[in-house]
Symmetry: C2
Subunit: 340 residues, 2 copies
DNA sequence: GCCCGCCCTTGCATCGTTGCAAAGGATCAC
DNA sequence: GTGATCCTTTGCAACGATGCAAGGGCGGGC
């Protein structure tokens, strides 16, 4: 059974192809009688739009590309789900690309690898330096998700990482922690910002510098979190009484390492993460975390894409989206400094 | 800066458009000199293929659609990652659709909602009945992932659910469990099959029927797993000494509920799940699970799609993919029946 | 020396839809 | 009654690539 084209529908309804197109696309000036007749033919023949042809002619495809480092990482999976849902509400289909954190792949995307098939690109990059050549050359609707901004040409949507980190560490301080380890430094901009927030919180609390410690990890995964904390526990230094993990995956790994070693959480060590992935409500003990509002991020990002499509010169900007501190048992100590 | 078309490249290189196309698509009969010259122009102008135009003309787009119920569920996220990686190796881009388990959406996909934009569809359905009308009418390359088969018209790729469930429950029996609860029955075909495996294992072990118990849940999520086990613990019936969760998310919820109530795992209750999501290596205690080989599933599925594109009448078949039992602490009891 | 055949290159039509702009018809006001 | 205006409908060309098939050029065989 061959494909049904507008031409077939037009013949069946006894009108021109253009009129069928008008009906399909909701053009207002079509007489009710004609609209009715065409609609019947559409239904009867089971017409389905060829999005490729429409995209080729009109220049708009109805696709948005979403590029994330690893879809299997819970945070990115949840982010992708939010984007897909938000896009569906707007009649947009999402193309998902996985960059594997490969700078080469990220660069390829920035240089337009997805341009003509997608109306816009949402990029959650790990590595691309802000002043990359490819970034400069990009001339299509692009919104950065999360941390990286690419130069000052494109808008960015995400939480304020410095403030979020400060909130998380500040919470640990409130809970009585005085020797807090930051877990997760790496080369990323994101890592720098969360490190900065950590520093600001410790400064504000007048924690002595000798008690500052930033532990680097390669990837923000459970595995690296566990390995880093194992090493920390095996080491000769004094044990921390708080761990601020740069994301929840690291925190989950940290909790596993602490559990193995019989360290009590939160009594011996309080733990807090960032992302509030679903998993975090089910760890042992449940993990305190910073919860970004993924739906807001997805909505804003799509709106910003739409804006870029419309006007030529839209002022790039940073959209700081809301977040909440979700307090769970991993950081909740018996001795409350003040009532919640 | 406008888009660079083949025409622009052709003019720049002083050849015809067709020759540029020949170079780009790797047509063999092009003189080295010409090829060289065209290639230089391609690079210099930064030509990038318009996939829409190519797709419109050639009928193939290089896209494959993947539809899963919820991308935020770890199992589906990991599956999607595997599919995206496998597709990337073949130069295919993946369109991800989230059905939210809505039968209407699944039906729409089966009735060809993605056809002309994707060369084939991978559908991981929850609800569509095997003999649905839409399923019968589908006339495009389609492969079912996971459990549901749609009539006998399309191939299915996934583990043998009955056998996998039997293996999981058999393992609990080996560990000495005698009153094993199955957690997760629902209306799905998948649920029926795992229930059947549970029954077979208990029968084989000659467990008395009074000790069989299948607990229904609405969704296979952490939350429903926790709620169901809480209810089980609050109830008046005798406690089980083993829990077979139909997937790892349920198992994670079950572990959380057991932890809350101070039930010791695996001493009081041993727990096993299916899927072996990454999270399962980090639960308290680490979760024993059945690990399907997602890479194999993704590879097979894409191969089957390609086959369907080629020949008209490919015999539909069920591809049972390999799986392993990954034993972790949640089921490993002190008293070993036999050495591993 | 001539013809045949292979290799390389090319032009044209086409995929299915929408932008553009104008034609035909009906309605309404004066 | 007549002109103007608006509403409907239409035809044509074009988006950028590839399928098809033929044309030109060159080398080799006899």
């Amino acid at each position: 059974m061959a494909r049904v084209r507008m031409r077939d529908v037009a013949e069946h309804a006894g009108v021109s192809v253009r009129t069928v197109s008008n009906v399909v696309s909701g053009y207002p000036h079509v007489s009710p009688a004609t609209r009715e007749r065409v609609q019947r033919s559409l239904d009867e023949l089971g017409y389905r739009m060829d999005y490729l042809a429409r995209g080729l002619r009109s220049g708009r495809t109805g696709f948005v590309a979403l590029a994330v480092p690893f879809l299997a990482e819970p945070y990115f999976a949840e982010l992708a789900q939010a984007v897909i849902s938000a896009a569906a509400r707007r009649g947009i289909t999402v193309l998902v690309e996985s960059t594997a954190g490969d700078p080469e792949v990220e660069r390829r995307i920035l240089s337009g690898g997805l341009t003509n098939v997608a109306d816009g690109v949402l990029l959650s990059a790990l590595t691309v330096p802000a002043d990359d050549d490819a970034a400069r050359a990009a001339d299509f609707p692009l919104v950065m998700l999360g941390e990286h901004s690419v130069g000052d040409r494109f808008p960015r949507v995400g939480i304020d990482n410095v403030a979020a980190a400060r909130t998380a560490v500040g919470h640990l301080v409130e809970q009585g922690c005085r020797r807090i380890v930051a877990l997760g430094r790496n080369g990323s901009e994101n890592g720098r910002q969360r490190t900065e927030g950590y520093r600001q919180a410790l400064s504000a609390a007048q924690i002595r510098r000798v008690n500052w410690l930033v532990v680097p990890v390669e990837d923000w995964t459970r595995e690296h979190g566990r390995a880093a904390v194992r090493e920390l526990l095996d080491g000769s230094g004094p044990l921390p009484d708080g761990i601020f993990a740069f994301n929840d995956a690291l925190a989950v790994g940290a909790l596993a390492a602490l559990d193995e070693s019989g360290v009590r959480v939160p009594d011996d060590v309080a733990v807090v993460g960032i992302d509030d992935i679903q998993e975090s409500a089910y760890t042992h003990p449940p993990l305190t975390s910073i919860a970004p509002d993924l739906d807001v991020i997805a909505e804003r990002a799509l709106s910003l894409l739409a804006e870029q499509e419309g006007a030529a010169g839209v002022a790039p900007r940073e959209e700081a989206t809301p977040y909440r501190l979700v307090v769970r048992a991993s950081s909740l100590r018996a001795r409350p400094g003040s009532p919640t």
